[in-house]
Amino acid sequence: MDCHELQENLPLLLYGELSPWEQAACEEHLAGCAGCRAAREKLDQFHQVLAQRPKVELSSALLTESRLALDEAIESQQHGWRALWHNGLPILRFQPASGFALGLTLILCGFGLGWGLRPHAARLTSEAPEVNSASVANPDLENMRISGISRVVPDPQTGGVKITMDAERRVTLEGSLDDPKIQQVLVYAVKSYDNPGIRRDTLDALRSHADNPNIRQALIYAMRRDPNAGVRLEALEAVCSMKSSSDVHTALLEALEHDANPGVRVAAVDALIDHTEKEGCDVPTARALEHVAVTDGNAYVRLKCSNAMMKLGK
């Protein structure tokens, strides 16, 4: 190996990227060549300079924040138009011809429907269902849920009143929790329904089927994201009854470190103790307990963490 060849290979030598025989040849040349030794020293010094670049410290807050932001972005995708494109209309993506045909059909149907409705359009408002007091006794109407009243017009001549309202018909679904449709409705209720009481009842119903991936995901979602602390607590208890896994463990750590409610954090400590007694205490758990034992704003949570660490022999 000559000097030119060695100096070409010098960076690779320092990075440990040469084969053993190339490395041996370099070392042999360096032993007998002062100029090349000086060149290696210079490159060494250059690497020392580069090592002075400040180290990047990855904070757990940034990691959690990034994970939550990603979670939100994925959630919004799952319910957006992309989800329809990816899940609902796969045929359109792979078969442009059938996509074109379907598009054309939709346009024609649109025109047809528009044409068909045109003569009646003016009468639509007056033909909206009208309800008189006698109809209230109708069992179908009793099953309707009134979501809004848009107009109340008293009639002075008859002494009656005309009410225009938006109503939804109540539907009762009945079936096994193994039925995917039932599961779908319950998972939707846990994630999106605005009544916390219903979300809590739904969690109660779902916890016996936590082995199902969708239900499992919904329970973890509720534990991490539900705005109501009672629901999060219920979800945490349901999650603890699930088979232990890395996602459950991560969710528990997140609850311990970031949940706003001290009751949930205390429940997370208990769950983590249970978990570590079965699985052994890993480094992130020990660190999280140690961190919360010092920094948590609530004295009881700090005490719980300190006791947990003693119990785990930390």
């Binding site: 960076p11 690779l12 990075y15 990227e17 210079k42 010094q45 250059f46 020392q48 300079v49 580069l50 002075q52 670049r53 400040p54 990047v56 990855l58 904070s59 940034l62 990691l63 924040e65 990034s66 994970r67 932001a69 990603l70 979670d71 972005a73 994925i74 995708q77 799952q78 992309r82 990816h86 899940n87 991936p213 969708n214 499992r216 995901q217 973890i220 896994s245 890395s246 996602d247 991560t250 890993d282 480094v283």
Partner: protein, 209 residues
């Protein structure tokens, strides 16, 4: 590619080390079928390293978070197209690499407006950036801060591809072969790119060595 060549030097999490290929494959399959918890578990194996790399490349936590999100959203959208011909980690880092390259290219086009000119009598821009690290020797701190800034400026002057190759090789410790697979190019091309980057940095920082 061997199973460990994409592990970042000394930074692999214990969980990722423990996860074997069969488990990872099962997570990939479930994620491809739409199982969100499997997708979450899968990305947890890599996301710390990805965020650390993004932070290294862009410097600001907010931008790093955006890159993290953009990269993993792309992974989420296209995981169903992933075929096991390449390792998942290679495929993932290819996505991350492309997101970082796009960011660096955008940054290069607006570089002139990023670092304000120093007027006489005004504090130098970097002097205004707070540094919270505790220290007993302010003079030494100022000196090493200046060196850190010089390195950062020199790295920013590399073209995006050279910058990424240098980051992955020098600071993340990836093997050239792995970088070649991530960049979808030959090991020799990566080697040349690394040499060019090193050469430029030595010129820029020659007086410090």
């Amino acid at each position: 590619m061997d199973g460990t060549c994409l592990e970042f030097a000394g930074k692999a999490t214990p969980r990722s080390a423990a996860m074997n290929e069969v488990e990872e494959l099962s997570l990939i399959r479930r994620a491809q079928e739409g199982d969100r918890s499997a997708f979450d578990a899968l990305i947890r194996l890599y996301d710390q390293n990805v965020l650390r790399l993004a932070l290294q490349v862009v410097g600001s936590p907010e931008e790093a978070r955006d890159l993290y999100q953009e990269a993993f959203l792309k992974v989420y959208r296209s995981i169903r197209h992933f075929r096991s011909e390449a390792k998942f980690s290679t495929w993932l880092y290819r996505v991350v690499m492309n997101v970082c390259l796009d960011h660096l290219r955008r940054q290069h086009t607006r570089k002139e407006v990023q670092v304000p000119m120093v007027e006489e009598g005004e504090p130098e821009f970097f002097q205004t950036v707070p540094d919270d690290r505790p220290t007993l020797d302010p003079e030494r701190t100022t000196h090493s801060k200046e060196i850190g800034q010089r390195i950062q400026v020199a790295l920013d002057r590399l073209n995006p591809r050279e910058r990424m190759v240098f980051e992955l090789k020098h600071y993340q410790g990836l093997k050239l072969r792995a970088i070649g697979e991530i960049c979808n190019t030959s090991e020799q091309t990566v080697k040349n790119c690394l040499f060019r980057a090193t050469q430029k940095l030595r010129v820029e920082l020659g007086d410090l060595a």
